[in-house]
């Protein structure tokens, strides 16, 4: 049996390998050097192969499989490559499900490998047996149960092709234990290029040019597809050529340089008033790489109702799903925008741009708080200044997530990693681990609420064990802030189950895991403490005490139009 060090190359050599070794070889074929996972009975042969291949494939063991899935996801979002996670059968596999669903909703390429019981025990309710392909069918692009070792290599290759091509997403490969121990011939193969993406015909481009050149008030809206197709440069050029104001969805934060004068802020439930005004007043909305989520539309009937819509989208099923479009350009955002940039003559809309910039000037994001109070807005602005806007910021879900999007000025893509679609509390810390391994040169900060932190806080020990220098920045308001905000607005301040009590001693907890802890209790501490956290060179937790009645604003209440967000919430004795 060849060993990992015996110089197997992609030379067309036929080898006799076990299924587990074939999994390793297929990972290497795809250029995978880092995987996240957790061992267990059904994946013993796979972990034995990982031992053998440890020189070429680094494995990070998290505390819980969910974090391994989030780490693979964070790795993929930060790098653009496909992330890989491994779990055992039964509970190991089901623990991945939230992570897989998170990646699915945000179109992140992940390959999840699970072990299963031996084939003779399948279907007999065997120990740690679960039908994980059945369970993950709705949350994967595709999944496989590999019953023959002869099919394993090609199945792994298909999994990577499906995960990374078209609209990206997670793929699960479930392998019974005896398939991973069986031997078969393996012939190394270089990954084939992805099948070509669809591309609109000339007629569509002619129609697009007609709309673009006749628009007096065009507005350009970018979604997560701009990030995943690497279309930031094309988007910037397009906005300049079209001479249009720009907004991004939560998923595209950093996909367009937010320092640019055209940028009006985020669009959607917690978007800016200026972006909402532009959607209401434009005569043409050009939307690239977006599925028009309900958190952006707010009310589909009231959204962009006075303008025409051009939708650039790779997934044809997103056309006419949540909102109709007057012109649909099916294709990769980067390629379609590049062609539009070649075809479109320079446009000029000085009056419209002046109007849009006026909205931005007149309705800036606001803040409140006394002179000594630690405002989360200040924390993010200081963090942005100290990191040059170039850190990778992962988030959990809730108020801190929105403040991160609003007050950290992202200027490059793949810096803001957030669970936008599924809204997964507990995502951020695992994602930060993956992001730091993908981008060891980058500063990685996980912004968390104290609620989200408690979901997966055991992963602090993963940071400590591997000495992964992630800053865990907790916005500690002793409450589930976003839920509290809704209770305040819509449930008569009946704070059902959202008061967390605030009994956790974060310094002691971090210390127990072997993680350094810092605290921000006063405004003057924000900058020095953040500086210390960013420069300490190891994992560090920052407990940042904020007021529990700090709100995320603006906010579009359910059913209302993005043109009319709430800008102010009256302070109460809440």
């Amino acid at each position: 049996m060849p060993t990992a060090g015996s110089g197997k190359t992609l030379g067309g050599n036929v080898m006799q390998l076990t299924g587990a070794q074939i999994v390793m070889e297929c990972l290497l074929e795809q250029g995978v050097d880092t995987v996240f996972g957790y061992p267990g009975g059904a994946v013993l042969p796979i972990y034995d192969a990982l031992y053998e291949y440890s020189g070429r494939i680094r494995h990070i063991r998290t505390c819980h499989e969910q974090a391994a899935a989030h780490a693979a996801d964070g790795y993929a979002r930060a790098s653009g490559k496909t992330g890989v996670c491994i779990a055992t059968s039964g509970p190991g596999a089901t623990n991945l499900v939230t992570g897989i669903a998170t990646a699915f909703m945000d179109s992140v390429p992940v390959v999840a490998v699970t072990g299963n019981v031996t084939r003779d025990l399948l279907g007999l309710d065997s120990f740690q047996e679960v039908d994980i392909t059945g369970i993950t069918m709705p949350v994967t692009k595709h999944n496989y149960l590999v019953k023959r070792v002869e099919r394993l290599a090609d199945t792994m290759r298909s999994a990577f092709r499906i995960a990374g091509s078209g609209r990206k997403g997670p793929v699960l490969v479930d392998i019974p234990k005896d398939v991973t121990t069986q031997k078969c011939e393996f012939t190394p193969r270089r990954p084939e290029p992805f099948p070509p993406s669809p591309f609109p015909g000339d007629e569509r481009f002619a129609q697009a040019l007609d709309l673009l050149e006749n628009s007096k008030r065009p507005f350009f809206y970018c979604g997560g597809g701009v990030v995943s197709s690497g279309a930031s440069a094309e988007a910037a050029e397009f906005a300049a050529k079209l001479d249009a104001p720009v907004s991004c969805s939560l998923m595209c934060q950093g996909g367009y340089d937010q320092r640019d004068g055209r940028y009006l802020g985020m669009l959607g439930m917690h978007g800016t008033k200026a972006a909402g005004e532009a959607v209401g007043e434009c005569d043409l909305l050009v939307a690239a790489g977006t599925r028009f989520s309900d958190r952006v539309l707010c009310n589909a009937n009231l959204f962009a109702r006075r303008c025409k819509i051009i939708q650039i989208e790779i997934d044809t099923a997103e056309f006419d799903k949540n909102i109709g479009a007057d012109l649909k350009l099916r294709g990769d955002a980067k390629a379609v925008l590049a062609k539009l940039n070649r075809l479109l003559p320079q446009q000029s809309h000085p009056d419209w741009m002046r109007l849009a910039k006026g909205w931005k000037r007149d309705c800036p994001l606001r803040r409140r708080g006394g002179p000594d109070q630690v405002s989360p807005q200040d924390v993010f602005e200081t963090l942005c200044r100290l990191t040059g806007g170039d850190a990778v910021i992962t988030t959990e879900v809730g108020q801190h997530q929105m403040w991160a999007a609003q007050y950290y000025t992202f200027h490059s893509p793949r810096r803001f990693l957030t669970s936008g679609g599924l809204g997964t509390m507990g995502f951020g810390l695992g994602a930060a681990i993956g992001a730091k391994l993908a981008r060891p040169d980058a500063t990685v900060v996980n912004a968390a609420g104290d609620g989200s932190f408690h979901m997966n806080c055991a992963e602090l020990s993963t940071l400590a064990r591997y000495q992964i220098p992630v800053v865990e920045l907790i916005f500690d308001n002793r409450t589930l802030g976003m839920v509290r905000q809704w209770q305040k607005l819509f449930f008569g301040r009946r704070y059902s189950q959202t008061d967390l009590g605030g009994k956790t001693d974060y310094a002691m907890l971090a210390g127990a895991f072997g993680v350094k802890a810092l605290k921000i209790a006063e405004k003057r501490e924000i900058e020095p403490v953040l500086r210390e956290a960013l420069s300490c060179g190891g994992p560090v937790l920052v407990d940042c005490l904020i007021d529990k009645d700090e709100n995320v604003l603006p906010m579009v209440p359910a059913g209302k139009s993005v043109e009319e967000p709430i800008l102010e919430i009256e302070r109460g004795n809440g």
């Binding site: 069918m137 709705p138 692009k141 595709h142 149960l145 499906i162 099923a317 056309f319 006419d320 799903k321």
Partner: protein, 163 residues
Amino acid sequence: MMREANEKEYLLSVLARNNPGVLLRIAGLFARRCYNILSIVAAETENAEYSRILIVVSGDDRIVRQVDKQLCKLEDIEEVNVLDRGKAVVREHLLMKVERTPQNSEKLVEIASVFRANILNVTAGSMILELTGDAGTVNSFIELYTPYRILKILRTGSMAMSI
């Protein structure tokens, strides 16, 4: 099954690779996206690697376009066609057991012969009939037997083939 007033029936002909679970993938997609399946008929094609699946969906034009596009995203689906009823032959297959008495026996046979239905089995107390036809024919066939105590009905969904 609830049906809105503006909903129509659409016939979808789906060509799928015969991989394990492909029917579950299709059924699961319909369930989670809240599309209504009225009937489904699936069987292997002339090529054992593929199955042809006929699905009758109720909905409006927009929903059917969504169904079509969402189905096409499934890895195992090769092709989806929304059939035009005017340009397709549509057939259902019915097996029906009715109660037979000395008094009604002649009448049962008479109705069957009008419809050119086959009589597959006759016992002292029952008769099994077989009919192939479009949904309307099958419905009126069943209606005519209703007064004679139907014991069991087994009916396929629509099969359809474009002309």
